[in-house]
């Protein structure tokens, strides 16, 4: 009996040792980024590598915050991501509401077309989308960026699945009482689906904030760059020769931090959204 207990404990310890080891491996790049962001240039280039700086160089961070262009990129990313996310939420909820609660002609064809579009890689749309934006003089503008990205098929599918689960009786009763579709969507359906809005809001924001390719194609003026472009530019001009590695690491930290914070706060919704796989259930 005692042996069984020892065996069980040994197993438990092994399990946790393994998991802690995995965590260290996964978290290592973050930890390495943080310690390097606090090192002097000599410490960064030291052989063998030094784990911790002798004196934390907070200077690297004040350099980042004092760099007005970096803060500008940060602001550009923040406000465009928030606007894109918010607009996408509204348009997708309306679309999904129409699919689930309004009887109109062409609905089935519409749904099929959207389904097919979902599997097409973004790359296949880039050149023509770029040409359209330049024709209407919206290339190199934040408005163009927002306009071209403010709809999401994933969101539509997700909302559709969630809205289908809402009892038709409640909505029918509201219709009988004379409520219009707008009222039903925003006064009844939306308040009943707050967690879907949270999930898609957080996932959407993360997606926008992290996106790089499309913004880098259409934004040309330096002051209009978003953070991912700014960071890449900073890295390729100052990083290659190792001139400002401490500052580069500090700016990576500053870039990643808001997202990690959002992730820790919104974890519940993120996990729900990811594993619900409503995006694939037609």
């Amino acid at each position: 009996m005692k042996n069984v207990k020892i065996l069980r404990n040994a197993k438990l310890i092994m399990t946790h040792l393994f998991l802690v080891f995995c965590c260290v491996v996964f978290a290592f790049p973050f930890l390495w980024m943080i310690t390097n962001s606090l090192k002097t240039k000599d410490e960064i280039w030291a052989v063998p590598p030094q784990v911790l700086p002798a004196v934390p160089q907070w200077m690297n961070y004040s350099d980042v915050f004092k760099d007005s262009i970096f803060m500008r990129y940060m602001w550009n990313s923040m406000y465009t991501s928030i606007l894109i996310t918010a607009i996408t939420l509204v348009t997708s909820a309306m679309f999904a509401y129409a699919l689930t609660n309004i009887r109109f002609k062409g609905k089935n064809i519409l749904f099929a077309v959207i389904m097919v579009t979902y599997i097409v890689p973004t790359a296949a749309t880039n050149i023509p989308a770029y040409i359209i934006l330049s024709k209407v003089k919206l290339i190199d503008t934040h408005f163009g960026l927002i306009l071209s990205t403010c709809s999401s098929i994933f969101n539509i599918f997700y909302f559709r699945t969630m809205f289908m689960q809402i009892s038709k009786d409640i909505l029918g009763a509201a219709r009988v009482d004379g409520a219009g579709h707008g009222t039903i969507l925003w006064r009844i359906v939306a308040p009943m689906s707050t967690s879907s809005f949270m999930t898609l809001g957080i996932l959407g924001f993360i997606g926008c904030y992290n996106s790089y390719v499309w913004p880098s194609l259409i934004l040309r003026t330096k002051s209009k760059y978003v953070i991912s472009i700014g960071l890449q530019l900073f890295f390729s001009t100052d990083g290659a020769y190792g001139l400002k590695w401490g500052t580069i690491m500090a700016s990576c930290c500053v870039t990643i931090f808001p997202l990690l914070l959002l992730f820790f706060i919104g974890q519940k919704w993120i996990m729900n959204g990811i594993t619900s796989d409503s995006g694939v259930k037609a």
Binding site: C22, P49, I102, T125, G239
Partner: protein, 295 residues
């Protein structure tokens, strides 16, 4: 009366789908159609005129070594990322499902890379890979293994890009497997245990078949995601050295937005669509024989 409501309902329906639909039509559906058209031309994005060249772009692509190399790279990258990501994610999930406490904490840490901006993560990794003073070579040397030039040499560049991607994706597959394993009926496992099944037998005969729908879903998702990988290549290798990490997607962006070969680039994009859809169909066909669905 009935007729009037249905007209009104039609109007409402289209009104509600309009805002999202207009964006999708202008920036997604129409561009795909336009890409197909452009792929039959020799346009360079600047000249006011262009010629129709028929299938020339496709023929020259399919015969070119650059495209063949890109195709091979894409395939190596997709397999090199998908297989380890699934195995690592599954292993961690299996072991984590035995942890009576702390699972939430472990899960959070291991999922964090997935939400990190790829550009920032790749920059940090480029410093970890640094051949002379990077920590990775130092760690390898300290356990007696030889270092590598990682993203700076032709032979290891692909490996470097693959490693970063695995690091970023493994937490995502882990989350799905955790969910899949949780849904395995415990009665089945208990019955097997009473029949004297070893833990490995239970793993291979119950857990793995029971999570096969998750595996199938993840294979498809991972295939699509690897076809779209760009940021890490841009930061770490720019498709080099000597095209060693140039995937079909990266090749497309080089042709489209640095060389402005619009016709050729459109043809690459459409071949990428064909490859993605084709692979998904093959995987679906394979899954018919191997995936076990609850009935």
């Amino acid at each position: 009366m009935l007729h009037r409501t249905s007209v009104k309902e039609n109007l409402y329906g289209w009104m509600f789908v309009f805002p999202a639909l207009i964006v999708l039509v202008v920036f997604w559906i129409w561009p795909v159609a336009d890409s197909i058209y452009l792929s039959f031309t020799d346009w360079d994005m600047i000249a006011p005129t262009y010629k129709m060249v028929g299938l020339k772009n496709y023929v020259s692509l399919l015969g070119s070594n650059t495209f063949k190399q890109a195709l091979t790279n894409t395939f190596v990258f997709a397999v090199g990322v998908t297989v380890p990501t699934l195995i690592i994610g599954f292993l961690i999930a299996v072991i984590m499902s035995h942890a009576s406490f702390g699972a939430n904490f472990y899960r959070t840490i291991m999922f964090a890379p997935y939400i990190t901006p790829m550009i920032a993560a790749s920059i940090v990794w480029s410093w970890i890979y640094e051949p002379r003073v990077g920590i990775l070579n130092f760690l390898l040397n300290s356990i007696g293994l030889p270092g590598s030039k990682w993203n700076q040499s032709m032979s290891s560049a692909m490996m470097s890009v693959v490693l970063v991607t695995i690091w970023k994706q493994a937490g995502y597959t882990m989350i799905f497997y955790l969910e899949g394993i949780r849904k395995v009926p415990s009665g089945l496992l208990e019955a097997a245990e009473i029949d004297g099944a070893s833990p490995l037998q239970k793993l291979f005969h119950i857990t793995i078949p029971m999570v096969s729908p998750t595996t199938f879903f993840l294979v498809i998702m991972s295939t699509i995601a690897t076809m779209q990988a760009y940021d890490q290549i841009q930061v770490l290798t720019q498709g080099g050295p000597a095209g060693a990490t140039r995937t079909v997607l990266y090749y497309y962006y080089q042709e489209a937005f640095s060389k402005f070969n619009t016709g050729k680039a459109s043809a690459i994009a459409l071949l990428l669509v064909v490859i993605t859809v084709g692979l998904s169909l093959i995987e679906t066909a394979v899954s018919r024989k191997t995936v076990h669905y609850e009935r």
